[in-house]
Symmetry: C2
Subunit: 242 residues, 2 copies
């Protein structure tokens, strides 16, 4: 259905605007997505609940609220929003079904979060596990940096202990670490593993380091470390490399 | 020398505040750097001209203007600035002296710019060439993402034609491209080359593509492309790989 909404105080508008806060996203299971490119990808993965647009959008089977630019600005996070903001459903976490998993241990920067999700999807990962203290992947900057990858991935939250217990299902734990680690290009390939990357400042949690099967480092010099999204990309590339 | 400054209208403060605009950076050859970690790296590379701080900083041989928090906020770009902002000198470009060069063709996002500089330094690159339309590497977000790499690199500006003419000095041009390209891991290693990475939306310029010696792609699926900083990291990693 298509509805015309002119007031900023309209119930739907007020409700949607609340979704800018992570707390309301968690409570409602909904989040906001802006722009036509991301909308298209969200639609493909059937993640859109309803949307706000300045002009009606063709071939959409969700409710559309046609609004003015002022309302779009109220809902959008960017300074110069395109004429569409969609309300999307947070997908229910599914059971892990892949042989190759990626665990994000307290990633704190939303741009890094989104870029890592984009990179993981590109390298064929489908199950991404987040530690409870990660920045929300539904943060607007994370969604934007993910380039829509967020809609195609199964995102699951797990504590460190649960990751360690994946050993019982035959997964090897591969962590990135600057200490006591082997050169990434010398890593013996495995069939069933979890790649674990850590917080921007602190790196991977010490319990996970202790419980890991392989510690790998990327051979660098001249600067202390790589950006975590770049490092993740290099590790996933190397693991896919024949 | 250490000076006490209490007025926001002090000449030094007013001059420094102008450096938030790229235009004034170009005119003056100066730019702003905030925070203690970046200051330390800028000092190491002898890039600091003078600085503003809430408390005097020990062992500095540049002029220090001791100011209040309000003035620091006026000069800083971040919302919660640390108590120091340094005015740094843009280093004069030096002649290219490396066998391995990196060309950034119209990189537009400052975060990507900084992350690429950080990554390039980590993989042993010292000469980074920027196309005239790149975002300024002296943008505050770029400096921050570079984690100080910007102070250690020789940054040179060159147009496409100049890059193509590097052929005359024996450099091979390696471009990233999704079309007509070979898998990166199958690239034959070279001794003297320029890696060319392109704009976030448009990729590498067509003249450079035509003039290139090798077109390489990273084998991905599920999404159109990788983030350019991630892709650059993977290419530089592979080229360093034995």
């Amino acid at each position: 259905m298509i509805y015309k909404v002119t007031s900023k105080d309209n119930r739907r508008v007020v409700e949607a605007a609340k979704l800018k806060a992570i707390k309301y996203q968690k409570d409602s299971g909904l989040y906001l997505v802006e722009g036509f490119h991301l909308l298209e990808m969200a639609v493909k993965q059937n993640r859109v609940d309803y949307l706000f647009a300045i002009n009606p959008i063709e071939n959409q089977n969700v409710d559309q609220y046609i609004v003015n630019e002022c309302i779009i600005r109220k809902l959008a996070a960017s300074k110069n929003p395109q004429g569409v903001v969609a309300v999307c459903k947070i997908a229910k976490p599914l059971a892990l079904s892949s042989l190759r998993l990626l665990y994000l241990d307290d990633i704190s920067d939303p741009g890094n979060m989104g870029t890592i999700l984009r990179t993981a999807l590109a390298f064929g990962y489908r199950d991404i596990i987040l530690s409870p203290n990660c920045v929300s992947p539904y943060n607007d900057k994370a969604i934007s940096a993910s380039q829509g990858a967020i809609f195609a991935l199964n995102l699951v939250e797990m504590a460190h202990e649960e990751i360690i217990s994946l050993h019982n299902q035959g997964y090897k734990l591969i962590v990135t670490s600057l200490k006591d680690s082997v050169d990434l290009s010398n890593l013996t390939k495995k069939d069933k593993y979890v790649v674990i990357v850590g917080n921007e400042s602190r790196g991977v949690n010490s319990r996970l380091l202790e419980a890991s099967d392989d510690k790998v480092k990327i051979n660098i010099s001249g600067i202390d470390s790589l950006n975590v999204a770049v490092a993740t990309g290099i590790v996933l590339y190397e693991l896919n490399r024949k």
